[in-house]
């Protein structure tokens, strides 16, 4: 291909060519590593044209050379990579990339280069790649998937490459509300926004392009007697300055959801990355709640597929016209126009006026007529009416068009006549317009087929959403303005604005003739491909093959051929695909149906989706007041809910296991302290507080005396355990409930729910106080000695504070609640102090305990200590399907109380079943072998899977206290199997055998905690 530039000179065009570029300002950029320059105002696509580059990528499946086809976001072909290194972003449409100094862009899907792509061999072997190729070919043997098929497919397929490092830019999200959201800033959108704004509504108007006005600059027609551009410029300025309209360019409305929740993607800095240095985010995702939505998203021109219609240089007619008018570029030196409507004649006359020869207008209609046709004739343009392109000739491996073949044709079929060859190097094609109905469909909007435009238009939506203008199939300028003002007025609820509407005129246009594809002459499909979906390389032959193979439903055809499933969501292809199916089945298009358009309208960045939530904001981390102390002490962390708790505190070069063992032995032999602040704490007060507790716990609490506590279990109504903890009586009708750390919020909501919705007569208040307190366990034989060293008025003696009792007082100058409870089996207290005093108090405990060898212990030591005692942990021994009876906790399940949550469910047959799994202890045959967590027990080990599973390990640890491994498990009828052996087949054929024992491994009589 020649590298001659396609920039059109301005001389003699009267300023109508290249209006958006500034020829006095050159902008340097790179394409595939090579330096080029364009002008300020260029897009990457126009700058590449200007540098004579028409091949910008290789196709997805056949690796055919591809060029720019469309305009803005409807471009299916020219997907490029923009940026380098960690700022590389793949799959950006070259038609939407605004040129800035230093822009680096690369072609995709090509190896070794876009000019010479080895993958093009797929194209030569294309008869081997029919529709459903992957389904048909890569079926067996299964082993081939991993080693052969997948690597090949991964190498050959896929669009673009990922950036090679973390994204250094910032992104954010913004929430807002408005009365009216107008989607699209063409004349219809601007008119609707003006009408709504005049009525006092708060309006957002968003357009995905850098400029407002849609295609008003090239659409012909006048507003108030002048070119449309004048009115659009004035209106846009008025709206932006009004203070009740938020005007947004470079902002794509990507999705519409229930109740008019709309998502918009704003490209804040892509066009000028320098503003990021001043603090601007790169992208911003808008979450808009709009009372009303007006969709003025316009229409997308559709091509007419003909043989090899994907060759670089074949473009949509309006795209050719817009590139010429806006950027002063043409796709070649000599064009032909292929059309079924009048609008394409504008392209022909515009090209000619700019000095670009047009060899022929090929119109499928037998008798085109009207002012636009007359103007073309007057300009001396040659027209072949009743004809179609039936072939395309190209050289240099398809990269350079040399001619098209034209034959007589009618939309009802081929007519006899001679073929003619017309020399040209580009083709502008127009097959009519498809309203952009995507947003209307995102949230369930339905469509109707409109015969006049041969496409789908929106049916009334259930949400307050209306579609106007060409998106609604209204193409006549005067009718479109009427519709737009009416929609704006209706949205604002006023009737004053319409008077200000400009008077619109436009040239009358003749009707279009539907044509879904123009067949090639010669043997069917011999080197001729009629592309329907450029992005996924789907051809007319693929669709017809799918039909022949029985994929009759359009939804099946879509999935089988991948029509419309690429990142462009079928913008240029879906309706044509339906037209082809209509032709091959003989059914009218409305009977074929349409497939769903799903969000997003165009792909948008992961950065915008993540927004602020990256790095330290990636996930919420809750900190206790002692967080910094743990951090400074070198703690490793365990996430519990959103909390970070200290897992263990390795010293020096200790590994985690050594640290955990040391911490456990310190508690058993001396004294340890644990930050238990994350435990849920709920104050419960009122005349019915005791009665409430009796209904939510399996055991009785109303009999508790002030200063006493009790351990309780909570079931849901299905009879399954969901939380446990110690609740103490603070005074008359006043209790403090402790919950698990993970269950804190769940339990307080649970209590509120029952009080508000079921036991509405109960007089009880519940208030979560978790965050108010720092709470520390002080556990070990020296716990009392340590605490007695603290200054204060709390009696820690065995008589003064008996097991399962609490007292309040002052300790080290702060108010404290002291509970004598034990989760380790040792002499143990829990001290709660107000959180702001927490860290200092924690340090006091360490100071006071120094002489006893006190050390902090983490959550892992806590778990081993409780497992040695056979204490259950919610979430380990329970999984939402375990009852208290399964765990052998019948002692905590009241028989006397008439009603409490889950009681009746326990009698249901499946929960009373004697074959249920029961909690047991396990001792492995080899004491040094620690069972894997969750390991399955089987009745017998067999060669063939599956084996008969009889239970699973729920907790498993190395116990330094017993110097051997211990585990707990739920085993079918386990309690009747004491002393029996169970087998656990684990990884790589290994089998571990263990004896079923009582789950209390240490200090069975509980002597150690009662001293």
């Amino acid at each position: 291909m020649s590298n001659k530039p396609y920039r059109v000179p301005t001389a003699g065009t009267g300023g109508t060519v290249g209006r958006l570029i500034d020829r006095s300002q050159t902008v340097d950029f790179t394409w595939n590593g090579q330096k080029y320059s364009g002008y300020a105002g260029d897009t990457l696509a126009s700058a590449l044209f200007a540098n004579g580059i028409r091949v910008v990528g290789r196709s997805f499946k056949y690796h055919r050379p591809r060029g720019v086809i469309g305009l803005g976001s409807n471009e299916p072909n020219a997907l490029v990579g923009v940026g380098t290194g960690s700022r590389m972003e793949p799959n950006i449409r070259a038609t939407q990339v605004e040129l800035f100094p230093g822009l680096a862009a690369t072609a995709q899907n090509a190896w070794p280069s876009v000019e010479y792509d080895i993958g093009q061999i797929n194209s030569l072997a294309s008869r081997l790649f029919p529709a459903g190729f992957y389904y048909k070919t890569f079926m067996w043997p299964q082993a081939f998937w991993k080693s052969v098929y997948e690597p090949i497919i991964r190498r050959a397929a896929g669009l673009g490459v990922a950036p090679d490092g973390p994204d250094p830019d910032t992104y954010e999200q913004f929430n807002c509300h408005c009365d009216v959201l107008v989607v699209g800033g063409g004349v219809a959108g601007l008119a609707a926004a003006e009408a709504a704004s005049a009525g006092g509504a708060r309006v957002i108007i968003a357009d995905e392009n850098p400029q407002f006005g849609g295609i008003s600059d090239i659409a012909g027609g006048t507003l108030d007697g002048e070119a449309q551009s004048k009115w659009t410029a004035e209106t846009a300025q008025r709206l932006a300055g009004s203070g009740n309209v938020h005007v947004m360019s470079r902002t794509t409305v990507v999705g519409h959801f229930h109740h008019n929740y709309v998502m918009m993607f704003e490209r804040v800095a892509d066009h000028d990355p320098r503003i990021m240095n001043e603090g601007a985010p790169r992208h911003r995702l808008w979450k808009v709640r709009a009372k009303r939505v007006i969709i003025a998203s316009g229409a997308i021109e559709r091509p007419i597929p003909f043989a090899n219609n994907d060759r670089p240089g074949v473009m949509l007619s309006t795209a050719v016209r817009a590139h010429l008018a806006r950027y002063g570029v043409a796709p070649g030196y000599r064009g032909v126009i292929f059309t079924n409507n009048d609008d394409a004649y504008r392209t022909a006359t515009d090209l000619l006026a700019a000095g670009v020869p047009v060899a022929r207008i090929i119109d499928v209609r037998p008798e085109p007529a009207g002012p636009l046709v007359d103007a073309a004739k007057a300009a001396g343009l040659e027209i072949s009416a009743g004809s179609a392109i039936c072939g395309l000739m190209a050289k240099s491996g398809g990269k350079h068009i040399t001619a098209v073949k034209v034959a007589p044709y009618s939309t009802t079929g081929r007519v006899p006549g001679a073929e003619e060859q017309v020399n040209c190097d580009f083709v502008a094609v127009s097959g009519g317009w498809n309203p952009v109905v995507h947003l209307h469909c995102h949230n369930g909007g339905k469509l109707d087929f409109n015969d006049k435009i041969q496409s789908f238009v929106p049916r009334k939506h259930e949400d307050p959403v209306v579609t106007i203008g060409s998106a609604n199939g209204t193409f006549d300028l005067a009718a479109l303005m009427d519709e737009a003002y009416a929609a704006g007025e209706a949205a604002a609820g006023t009737r004053a604005a319409k008077a200000k509407a400009p008077k619109a005129t436009s040239e009358p246009e003749g009707a279009l003739e539907p044509l879904w594809y123009a067949p090639a002459t010669g043997k069917y499909n011999e080197g001729n491909k009629h592309f329907i979906d450029f992005q996924n390389d789907v051809t007319a032959a693929d669709l017809e093959l799918a039909q022949r193979e029985g994929y009759e439903s359009v939804e099946h055809t879509k999935r089988y051929t991948t029509l419309g499933m690429a990142t462009d969501q079928g913008k240029t292809s879906n309706i044509i695909g339906l037209g082809v199916l209509s032709g091959s089945t003989g059914k009218p298009i409305p009977e074929i149906g349409t497939t769903t358009f799903r969000p997003p309208y165009t792909p948008f960045s992961f950065g915008a989706i993540a927004g602020t939530q990256v790095g330290k904001l990636f996930h919420v981390v809750r900190r206790t007041a002692q967080f910094d102390w743990h951090k400074e002490a070198g703690a490793t962390w365990e996430p519990i809910g959103d909390w970070r708790r200290a897992y263990c505190y390795p010293k020096g070069d200790e590994d985690k296991h050594a640290a955990i063992n040391r911490e456990i032995l310190t508690v058993r032999g001396k004294v340890g302290i644990l930050d238990a602040s994350t435990l849920g704490k709920i104050e419960i007060k009122g005349p019915d507080a005791g009665a409430l507790l009796d209904r939510v716990y399996t055991n009785t609490f109303s009999t508790l005396k002030p200063g006493r506590g009790r351990y309780g279990l909570m079931m849901n109504e299905m009879g399954f355990l969901f939380d446990d903890g110690v609740t103490v009586c603070l005074g008359k009708d006043h209790y403090l409930m402790h919950t698990t750390s993970g269950g804190a919020e769940r339990v307080v909501q649970w209590l509120e729910e029952w009080l508000q919705t079921e036991w509405t007569d109960m007089k009880v208040f519940v208030t979560a106080v978790t965050e108010q307190w720092s709470q520390f366990a002080v556990a070990g034989p020296k716990a009392r000695a340590l605490l007695e060293k603290l200054e204060g008025d709390v009696d820690f003696s065995a008589d003064g504070l008996a097991f399962m009792s609490m007292s309040e007082g002052m300790l080290e100058g702060t108010r404290a609640r002291v509970f004598r409870i034990s989760f380790s089996g040792e002499l143990s207290y829990e001290i709660a102090v107000p959180a702001n005093a927490g860290r200092v108090f924690w340090e006091k405990l360490l100071e006071a305990g120094e002489e006893f060898g006190v050390e902090p212990y983490g959550t892992e030591a806590l778990h081993v200590l409780r497992a040695e005692k056979g204490f259950i942990a919610i979430g380990d021994e329970t999984d939402g399907t375990v009852t208290p009876l399964d765990l052998g906790m019948n002692w905590a399940v009241s028989k006397k109380k008439a009603d409490y949550l889950g009681k009746r469910a326990l009698e249901l047959p499946h929960l009373a079943d004697e074959n249920r799994k029961e909690l047991v202890g396990l001792l492995t045959e080899d004491p040094n072998e620690v069972l894997p967590d969750g390991a399955y027990a089987v009745s017998s080990v067999t060669e063939k899977l599956p084996m008969d599973m009889i239970g699973q390990v729920t907790s498993t640890y190395w116990s330094p206290t017993l110097n051997r491994s211990i585990a707990m498990a739920l085993i079918k009828k386990g309690r009747a199997k004491m002393g029996e052996k169970v087998t656990f087949p684990v990884a790589e054929g290994k089998v571990i055998r263990a004896e079923i024992v009582d789950p209390v491994f240490y200090d069975k009589e509980g002597a150690k905690q009662n001293v």
Binding site: R289, A898, D899, A905
Partner: protein
């Protein structure tokens, strides 16, 4: 994203500001009389739910506002919310008339039971 107004505190918010508690008007048999509940009655209470295509009654909580539960009447097809009423109240007749026949049957059965 549904836009919801809490009838208790009047705040308008969206789905994420509220918590959906599922089907409304489920009667807990044990509260009335813990004795003599059949396995079938208990099963239905715990597990069986209506799933109408159309107007439905649900419980919601004003999660990020006043924390109170209330009833909402929602069309499961159009997602329109037709009205709200108190958590201890039965649906107003105007809403019940629009509701799926499953619901009319539900309240008729309740009425019958109360009479007997």
């Amino acid at each position: 994203m549904l836009v919801i107004t809490c009838p208790v505190c009047g705040v308008e918010g969206e789905e994420a500001d509220f918590h959906c508690g599922g089907e409304a008007h489920i009667t807990r048999p044990a509260t009335e009389n813990p004795e003599g509940i059949s396995d079938e009655a208990q099963r239905d209470y715990i597990y069986m739910r209506k799933n109408p295509k159309g107007v439905h009654f649900e419980r919601w909580r004003c999660d990020r506002g006043c924390g109170k539960w209330f009833h909402a009447c929602r069309d499961t097809v159009s997602m329109e919310i037709l009205g709200y009423y108190g958590i201890t109240q039965k649906p107003p007749a105007t809403l019940l008339k629009k509701a799926d026949p499953l619901w009319q049957a539900h309240f008729e059965a309740q009425l019958k039971k109360a009479k007997s």
